[in-house]
Symmetry: C2
Subunit: 192 residues, 2 copies
DNA sequence: GGTTAATCTTAAGGTGTATTAAGAAAGGGT
DNA sequence: ACCCTTTCTTAATACACCTTAAGATTAACC
């Protein structure tokens, strides 16, 4: 399946589109090819696009004052990854978005998307649901990190995102969990 | 100013309403009076209302498997407090919402609000902005709790929410910060 | 105003996780 | 195939934060 076909079948999981709408929608996205480690969004920039991963994987991370990275979100094929904060408020992003592997992204500019909402109302519904889901995921993550130990968080991560764990380096999983790679290594040894 | 007047002037900070719209809008909200410690939303229930604090203060908290409470959000006059997750997805709430002091809330049911969106479009804009802001606040909080020490988080809390710190018990501030009351007490002693 | 309950503090000892440093293993490029 | 870089592990030491227990304040109630 070609790249836009992947997006189309993803949209069809949630909404119905007729043939005319399909072509209007797909024409609104542009394809971007990223090398491993290539940065798609820099902190400080305004995020002007919604971004869909057709192939590969991304990470969104925050960099603190001591230049330490904290991974906020992973994404693989079929996921949307962005600094939603920046996109919604048109303020400078606090996160970087970077390719973990060679990655193909389909992205749509805010202005294009706003026009598309009027031409194809089902798309507005699609994104409204995405925004809700993003909120829900973030709330889960916040509650989780407040009330669970690193070991519990790791076990949950493993059962929920096994496919991600197998594809990204362990030190990134540690960063996502909010612990050091050394401690994750010790945890893994203990659990096994 | 009466209770509904407080809500009206709050709405006017963001949107314009003509006289007819004002009365349609205000008639859509119902007033609820809460005693100290009275619970407005129980975990497990579906949150069906958007809730505005006209007077008093609320807290939203999550209870973990060991029955320990973790405060997710405080609210005082002029704030909206809810389990947005539950409201948006119509799934059981993961948080409790409880009055810290005697409190007056104005609330609107989801069905009423959905109809109101059509009658008074400015209201849709108002809530869209609220939802965005809620997301932003949650993202800040998540990043913050991942990358800062308890001392840093406390100092930030103090400068950002001094009015709240003065009104709620210290052990609740500790819960919000994700630390024990004993450790917060030690921190305060050290800082002073 | 006295009693009880709620909240805050202190202190000792314990646990979870970080830091540092080093080496081992795996992966990528030419 | 080899070298160089990236990733993962081990182990010793250190620190942030927790637990438990007790006492000191402050607030709430009859």
């Amino acid at each position: 399946m070609d790249v836009k076909g992947i997006l189309l079948s993803h949209l069809r999981d949630t909404i119905d589109l007729n043939t005319e709408e399909e072509s209007i929608v797909l024409d609104s996205y542009t394809e971007r090819h990223l090398k491993k480690k290539e940065v798609l969004l820099f902190a400080g920039e305004i995020s002007n696009h919604m971004r869909f991963i057709a192939k590969g994987s991304l990470r969104a991370y925050h960099m603190d004052e001591e230049a330490k990275e904290h991974i906020v979100q992973f994404g693989i094929e079929g996921w949307w990854v962005n600094d939603l904060y920046s996109y919604l408020t048109e303020t400078p992003a606090k996160q970087f978005v970077q390719a973990i592997e060679p990655t193909i992204v389909l992205q749509i500019h805010r202005d294009t998307l706003n026009k598309l909402y009027e031409k194809v109302p089902a798309i507005e519904r699609f994104y409204r649901l995405k925004f809700e889901k993003a909120y829900v995921a973030l709330q889960d993550r916040t509650i989780n990190s407040m009330s669970k130990s690193a070991e519990e968080r790791y076990l949950e991560f493993r059962s929920k995102y096994r496919s991600i764990e197998q594809r990204v380096p362990q030190y990134m999983v540690a960063s996502y969990l909010g612990i050091t790679p050394e401690f994750l290594s010790a945890l893994r040894k203990k659990i096994k």
